[in-house]
């Protein structure tokens, strides 16, 4: 591949996901903004909430792998080499981190007063 161009990636992902691409990107940006805003407002991280979010994150990674298996008509049991383990780790990692950020932000904004009390 001669031209590893971000515009090509964008075009391909747009074909792959359609309008969902923008929904997902917006959701991701919204989650990160909400997370950062929460950190700023609370002037730090609430470890109790983070641990809960991380517990959900473990499940989020598994969910990401299940979705991946469904859309690719295959699964991580088909791994045949290091590149596959890297992909599995990547998919799990993205699913886990996204879940942690989203859960932490949602929990924080849903119960803001409790955290301060």
């Amino acid at each position: 591949m001669k031209e590893l161009d971000p515009m090509v990636f964008l075009a391909v992902f747009q074909e792959m996901l359609g309008p969902m691409l923008w929904v997902m990107l917006l959701a991701a940006v919204a989650a990160v903004v909400a997370f950062v805003a929460l950190l700023v407002r609370e002037r730090g991280i609430v470890s109790r909430r983070l641990v809960r979010a991380e517990l959900l994150g473990l499940i989020g990674g598994v969910v990401a792998l299940v979705i991946m298996a469904q859309v690719s008509s295959s699964g991580f049991t088909d791994a045949g080499g290091p590149a596959d383990w890297f992909l599995i780790a990547l998919v799990y990692g993205v699913g886990a981190v996204a879940t942690v950020v989203l859960t932490y932000a949602v929990m924080g904004w849903m119960q803001p007063r409790q955290a301060r009390a």
Binding site: M1, M7, V8, A11, V12, F13, Q14, E15, M16, M68, V71, S72, S73, S74, G75, F76, T77, D78, A79, G80, G81, A83, D84, F86, L87
Partner: protein, 449 residues
């Protein structure tokens, strides 16, 4: 006999066009600053009144149309193809594997014809490179300054005595290439075979063919289906190779030999399907010593392939050498420009070049050919070269594939060096085949990839 010349760009009549081209260049930075340059090819738009005819609206024709529409301003671009349906052919094996539904590979040609391009929904009946015109089956005459031939190839089922495409899906007869319907019907026949077992026969024709990996893939997929059904021990799989090798690229051929040995697929070399008795389920092969019969319970018939009639009957094919008999176009392998008619280009399956009959090849051929065509218009000769790039995600079982990429010289090319090893059976390669390939292909048709 006069050889058509390229449009003379030094002609004073062309000069105003050139000035407009330069003026349009001047406007570019502003356009870029406000983000209005959405041209997929991201090249400067060139003003021209050239008449460009694209014979064939498949993968190569539509890709060429999209890129030309984006790169040229004022050109008359015409695509000639009667087919309303567009078939995503790289997906046929997935349909025949029972992985994807039939409609996965079907879309509409109209959705890919870019604005500003005229689509003549008629069959190309005649190509006259001397008179610089294309004639359709209704008698419509389309004169051109430049011609891009992207008519693909013809599946020559009649070249196998006794073959009847209407019976694909019945009596253990499969043939993936024919159509989306045939691919689905082939899955029906193979699915039955995978439950019952018996003798499964695979192979490929002599001569050039599109995606030479597909017949191999289907042998691997059938093996896997049998294993998953627990019937592998009740089945014998035979692969009939047309030559002494299993694949045109030696290092890949050797890997496939090892995998077939591992999976217990028997190989017969120099066996070319000559005739078939669909009722008795007997295939007859031409061999160096005569003919050989092979009975089967399931067979995947891959027909001989040749250039379409309109090309074979034109002066465009090679007149000597390996590509002459089947009428493949005599183009320069580096530029895809016709060797005798410089204003004619041949891209996609129809091009008489070694390798290169895959959608991935189209992705690399079309930009090179167009760069040379546009170079003729702008007067700036192109240096772009097509190196024979061909890619084949060779499925070796459901869930794994080898991402094989190579060039004219049988070199392996690695798109992801150090990450995806070409001769390794990997899930990531399968994921690319099932998830990323179709969106990439569609982006290609739209001129965006």
């Amino acid at each position: 006999m006069s050889t058509p010349r390229l449009p003379d760009l030094q002609d004073p009549a062309v000069e105003p066009l050139r000035r407009r081209f330069l003026a349009s260049l001047g406007a570019l930075p502003l356009a870029a600053a406000v983000g209005t340059t959405t041209a997929p090819a991201r090249a400067a738009t060139i003003k021209t009144q050239a008449r460009i005819v694209i014979a064939g609206g498949g993968a190569a024709g539509l890709t060429a149309a999209s890129r030309l529409a984006a790169a040229l301003d004022g050109a008359s671009i015409t695509v000639v193809d009667p087919r309303k349906e567009h078939w995503y052919q790289p997906g046929f094996t997935l349909v025949a594997a029972g992985i994807k539904p039939q409609d996965y590979v079907v879309s509409g040609t109209a959705s890919y014809v870019p604005r500003g391009v005229e689509w003549v929904s008629e069959k190309v009946a005649e190509i006259d490179p001397e008179g610089q015109k294309v004639v359709t089956d209704s008698g419509k005459v389309l004169p051109y300054d430049f011609l891009i031939v992207a008519l693909g190839l013809e599946l020559h089922y009649a070249g196998i005595e006794g073959m009847d495409t209407a019976r694909i899906g019945q009596d253990g007869l499969g043939s993936i290439y024919h159509s989306p319907q045939a691919a689905a019907a082939t899955w029906g026949a193979m699915s039955q075979f995978s439950k019952a077992g018996g003798v499964g026969v695979f192979g490929r024709p002599a001569g050039e063919m599109k995606c030479a990996g597909a017949p191999l893939k289907y042998a691997f997929i059938t093996d896997d289906r049998l294993r998953r059904a627990g019937t592998r021990s009740k089945a014998e799989l035979v692969y009939m190779a047309q030559s002494k090798s299993l694949f045109g690229v030696p290092i890949v051929a050797e890997k496939v030999r090892m995998l077939f040995q591992d999976r217990g697929v028997k190989v017969n070399h120099e066996h070319v399907l000559q005739s078939i008795d669909l009722g008795k389920r007997i295939a007859t092969y031409k061999t160096p010593t005569g003919t050989a019969e092979q009975s089967y319970d399931f067979i995947n018939v891959v027909p001989p392939m040749r250039a379409p009639e309109a090309v074979r009957n034109s002066p465009l094919p090679w007149t000597e050498g390996a590509f002459a008999a089947d009428g493949w176009m005599e183009v320069d392998r580096d530029t895809l420009r016709h060797k005798r008619y410089p204003n004619v280009f041949g891209v996609g399956d129809v091009a008489g070049v070694p390798k290169g009959k895959t959608a991935a090849s189209v992705k690399w051929q079309v930009p090179v050919a167009l760069d040379h065509l546009i170079g003729d218009i702008s007067g700036k000769a192109s240096q772009e070269v097509y190196n024979g790039y061909t890619s084949c995600p060779l499925i070796t079982r459901l869930g794994q594939a080898m991402l094989i990429e190579f060039d004219y010289k049988d070199n392996l090319i690695t798109s992801f060096p150090g990450v995806i090893a070409p001769l390794e059976e990997l899930w990531i390669s399968w994921v690319m085949k099932t998830m990323a390939l179709k969106p990439t292909y569609i982006s290609m048709l739209r001129g965006k990839a």
